[in-house]
């Protein structure tokens, strides 16, 4: 394998109403962020089951970020409050198990914040690149 430079694999879960629209706006404004970020659309950030986050890591993702509406602005009124609690518990548990905390993040991005979306992705990729490959949560059967 002639991989010169390690490029992390980032999975981003974005809620349809705010953060996905914010990502679209980043595109409309031709802002740049690394292609390592792949976005999965969900109706609300509360749809993101911790199992999905673990699955992403298991299959080789190096970082997972969940984006949703700002608390108080959820299209479904209360979804992101549950996201906030659930992800706080999950991240704390992953940290407890020794998984580097920079590999996971929750960011609140509104539909008008294209610039924030791009900046967040740039920052996140930079941090995950610095950590190197995710070895601790990887399922060795899923290697290419």
């Amino acid at each position: 394998m002639q991989v010169n430079e390690y490029k992390p694999l980032i999975v981003a879960f974005c809620c349809n109403w705010c953060s996905y629209a914010g990502a679209d706006l980043a595109g409309n404004n031709r802002l740049n962020y690394p292609a390592e970020v792949k976005i999965i659309r969900v109706p609300c950030s509360c749809r993101v089951n911790p199992m999905f986050v673990l699955r992403a890591f298991q299959r080789g993702a190096d970082g997972v970020i969940i984006c949703g509406c700002h608390p108080g602005d959820c299209h479904y009124t209360s979804g992101n409050y549950y996201t906030r609690r659930r992800m706080a518990a999950l991240f704390s548990m992953l940290d407890y198990l020794g998984i580097e905390k920079e590999r996971t993040r929750v960011e609140w991005v509104s539909a008008a914040e294209g610039a924030k979306f791009a900046a967040t992705m740039n920052d996140f990729v930079e941090k995950v690149t610095a950590l190197g490959e995710n070895k601790r949560l990887e399922d060795l059967r899923c290697k290419k």
Binding site: P50, F91, S92, D95
Partner: protein, 332 residues
């Protein structure tokens, strides 16, 4: 070492059977070994006199068994509940898992239950019999003639060393005096782990969790794990798996299970008790409980029927997920 005796419990059960209050009894039964006490359903006085036991190895929490046994019994079922068991009892009622009307709960006092692993550490394998005498137990093995005298207080299960409450939160009748909630040190081990570096923590957990053989005993005994179809058996969930293919599978099973019971776990300690590989599973569940207490206020699952668990609740000013790392106990 227990304040209440087997005879007193049998007498209570017999009298409740006789006056028709209950038609069967859920209690502890003699197992293969003296320390291997199993839950069983007793229908009459003969069965009780023959097989019912009560000693320092009666850690079994009956709450979970009520879900299936209330269907097997025509009238009410008598269940003996230690203080820690009553929390699971309330939690299962909150989740509508069994009919309260079909249960007659008798709260019994508990001085702590012994951990056979600790006993084996002192006197080795091959235990042929254990006799109880007040504060001590006489352990006879196949390899020694004379029984080893062990003080029960020295071999208490970890969950009993850090007992959180001697107060029963649910009962129809109480035997003995009412106990009190205890300010326990049950989070000390969790804090010790939190103080380690991430690398040390990872090494610790990899060591512990890689011994898991996916026997599922922890899931099967856990009162919070009472789903009709477990997510690990559900083909639509995407995480169905049974066999340990490699070390990651075990981590994922344990993280997911701990997450699913988060906010519903009453910290009864059964999971660690039944694990054949002695994995300290309670350290995962207690981490969640400690986190919930710190982030969202003190919460004890099952303290009352109808409480709202932290993960199905919210406030407008909850802690942000990124902030959990800045609490000063874990390092960069």
């Amino acid at each position: 070492m227990q304040k209440i005796t087997r005879e007193q419990l049998i007498e209570k059960a017999v009298s409740l059977l006789a006056d028709g209050t209950v038609s069967c009894v859920l209690g502890w039964s003699k197992g293969e070994f003296d320390y291997d006490v199993t839950p069983a359903l007793f229908n009459n006085e003969e069965e009780l006199k023959a097989n019912f036991v009560f000693n320092d190895f009666c850690g079994v929490n009956f709450s979970k068994y009520l879900i299936s046994k209330t269907n097997k019994c025509d009238g009410k079922i008598l269940v003996f509940l230690k203080p820690c068991d009553t929390y699971s009892f309330n939690q299962l009622l909150t989740e509508h898992r069994f009919d309260r009307e079909k249960v007659y709960a008798v709260g019994i006092p508990c001085e702590g239950m012994a951990d056979i692993a600790k006993v084996k550490q002192i006197c080795g394998d091959g235990i042929s019999s254990i006799a109880f005498d007040g504060e001590k137990m006489a352990v006879t093995t196949l390899y020694d003639d004379a029984p080893v005298m062990i003080s029960t207080a020295d071999v208490l299960a970890e969950r009993c060393v850090n007992c959180k409450s001697k107060k029963h939160v649910a009962f129809d009748e109480l035997m003995g005096d009412e106990g009190e909630v205890i300010d326990s040190n049950r989070f000390d081990e969790v804090e010790k782990l939190e103080a380690m570096t991430p690398d040390e923590r990872f090494a610790f957990w990899q060591n512990e969790l890689s011994r898991c053989i996916r026997c599922n005993a922890c899931r099967d005994v856990c009162p919070a794990c009472t789903c009709e179809k477990c997510v690990f058996d559900n083909p639509n969930s995407g995480v169905e798996n049974k066999s340990p293919a490699n070390s990651f599978e075990e981590k994922m099973f344990h993280i997911i299970r701990a997450f699913h019971v988060a906010g519903r776990c009453t910290d009864c300690g059964e999971c660690s008790r039944v694990c054949p590989q002695n994995i300290p599973l309670h350290l995962l569940n207690r981490k969640f409980i400690k986190d919930m207490n710190e982030f969202y206020g003190e919460y004890q699952a099952g303290a009352e029927v109808g409480l709202r668990a932290p993960l199905v609740d919210y406030t407008l000013t909850d802690i942000e997920p990124g902030e959990v790392f800045d609490r000063g106990d874990s390092d960069a």
